[in-house]
Amino acid sequence: MTRMNVRETPMISTRMPLKGMPSPSLRAGLAAAALLLAAIPAAQAASPSGLWPCIQPRVASLAAAQMWDGPAIDGLDWRDDTAVAELVPVLAARRTPIEEADAKVEAFARQAGANKDARLTLLFAGVFDQINSLRSRILTGIERYSKHQIDLSDRIRQESLELARLKKAATSEADKAKAADAEKQLLWDTRIYDTRTQAVTAVCESPVILEQRAFALARAIRAQME
């Protein structure tokens, strides 16, 4: 009962000074406008091709400044340092457990010599570069995946129309066998489509996992600097 009574209390009362909220209908309008506005950045974040299937916004590339407050890495040629060039792919590879990567960074720092900070900066430049380009390839892969799903759904639509036509027209045993084959193909394609749709969530997580890895490595490298 209390709940009912309180709910009936009007929010807009003439006794109260109300700024920017003149009437309930206008307020609803404002809310709708706000919703539309909120939708705009999401649309802008979508891929140019319109194929991005993930709820996560599509961020084309990572920004080093989001994970690194050390010296700038622009234009650094990390491949010139042999030890760095050898270590970078090991650190970037997802099969290297992060604890192991941390230990490798620490070992590198111990042997880095007088230019330790500069070499650690190079190491980050390499890791960032590698993970960022791997991530870009994954983004393209996700869009290809999405394109394939769209194509497959078109095919399923065609196949189901064709199946209906075949079933209707089937008079002979041969026709019926043809319809049965078409039905099998349709079921098979639908099954692939469903499995792939279920996998989208996991597929969409992979850029996130890479970003987490880049961040963790950046932190491990930065921690070794003076």
């Binding site: 209390t2 709940r3 309180v6 709910r7 209390t9 929010m11 009362s13 109260m16 000074p17 109300l18 700024k19 920017g20 909220m21 307020r27 404002l30 809310a31 706000a34 919703l35 506005l37 909120a38 950045p41 974040a45 920004a63 080093a64 400044a65 989001q66 994970m67 690194w68 407050d69 996130v208 970003e211 987490q212 961040f215 963790a216 932190r219």
Partner: protein, 334 residues
């Protein structure tokens, strides 16, 4: 009837205290004198308890589903957790880590604030555009206050006179007179306001806008915006700068603002309202909390699944501590 409920609740809590005092070994009690941080892990449905002296996770408490907002009673004895997907508030003993009771919350509670006296609790209901006011002693519903769409941020003035709620979709801060539980002012701020925080002297109200990328500093004398603080981090895209958590030191001089996927906490001089520094913390930093002595500030980093420890005086990040998945809210008690 009401009196009987109150009396029985009082007796029950007294009994609870007595049991607590007897059952805890002396050693455990002394070991628990160091401050403890309680962090809600949204994806694990747990609370991580971190000892703030050793900076180690000493306990992981299983909570209701999707714990988000977390706060403590003024005496630090009780921890309140908004279990959003179970639509209830859970109350834990901060020393034994046991569930003491649950409170009504209205649907989908996200954030809440306790009155400075410790009662009532003001709860934002994200799904039904209400703020629910609950008596924490007897679980009675005091009021439901209609606010804007998707209410989230909750602040209360130090004297308890005003409660402020922000609505994420209406883009407003709604000021409620706590005597009448009615909205007396609506302040339009930037897009998707997330947090409302008063300065301890009650002379400034800070409201962060996640999508707008700004923090509005409001004068509670006339509820006018004094300044909108914006943020600029070289090399970081503007879209990634999403202000959420706001904390201001007790002396009112310094404010800290968590900037979401920019992975930074901004340090702001509350006199000049200028940003002095950006501290790199963890990924997707949302909420902040001081230790009671204000020597340390904790940030919850939702994507790196850890908390960062910031030394308040030197304004440096000293450590990160791994907690559960998607850490969301944080509170620290002595």
């Amino acid at each position: 009837m009401t009196r009987r409920i109150l009396l029985s609740a009082g007796l029950a809590s007294m009994a609870g205290l007595m049991v607590l005092g007897e059952s805890l070994p002396a050693r455990a009690q002394s070991a628990q004198t160091s401050p403890r941080a309680f962090i809600s892990n949204e994806r694990d449905h747990t609370l991580s308890v971190v000892d703030m002296d050793s900076l180690k996770v000493i306990e992981t408490i299983k909570t209701g589903r999707r714990p988000r907002g977390v706060t403590a009673s003024p005496d630090g004895k009780l921890i309140y957790v908004a279990a959003s997907d179970d639509s209830r508030v859970e109350v834990y003993d901060s020393k034994t880590f046991k569930l003491v009771k649950t409170l009504r919350s209205g649907p989908d509670p996200e954030l809440f604030v306790l009155a400075p006296s410790g009662n009532p609790l003001y709860i934002a209901n994200e799904d039904d555009n209400m703020v629910t006011v609950v008596n924490v002693e007897n679980n009675e519903l005091i009021a439901e206050i209609p606010v804007g769409v998707e209410p989230e941020g909750m602040g209360v003035s130090p004297d308890g006179r005003y409660m402020v709620n922000t609505s994420e979709t209406t883009n407003m801060a709604h000021v409620v007179d706590t005597k009448t539980n009615e909205v007396i002012e609506n302040i339009l701020v930037d897009s998707r306001p997330r947090i409302a925080e008063f300065r301890k002297d009650g002379k400034q109200l800070w409201v962060s806008a996640e999508v707008g990328g700004t923090v509005s500093v409001i004068d509670p004398a006339n509820w006018q915006i004094v300044k909108k603080i914006s943020f600029d981090i070289p090399g970081v895209n503007k879209d990634a700068i999403q202000p959420v958590g706001v904390r201001i030191t007790k002396d009112g001089k310094k404010a800290f603002v968590a900037l979401g996927p920019a992975n930074r906490v901004a340090v702001i001089d509350t006199g000049t309202l200028e940003v002095e520094k950006y501290l790199l913390v963890g990924q997707r930093v949302w909420q902040l909390a001081f230790t009671p002595d204000e020597k340390l500030l904790i940030s919850t980093n939702g994507n790196s699944n850890d908390i960062s420890i910031i030394d308040v005086e030197s304004e440096k990040v000293t450590k990160s501590v791994a907690v559960g998945r998607a850490p969301w809210g944080v509170v620290v008690v002595q």
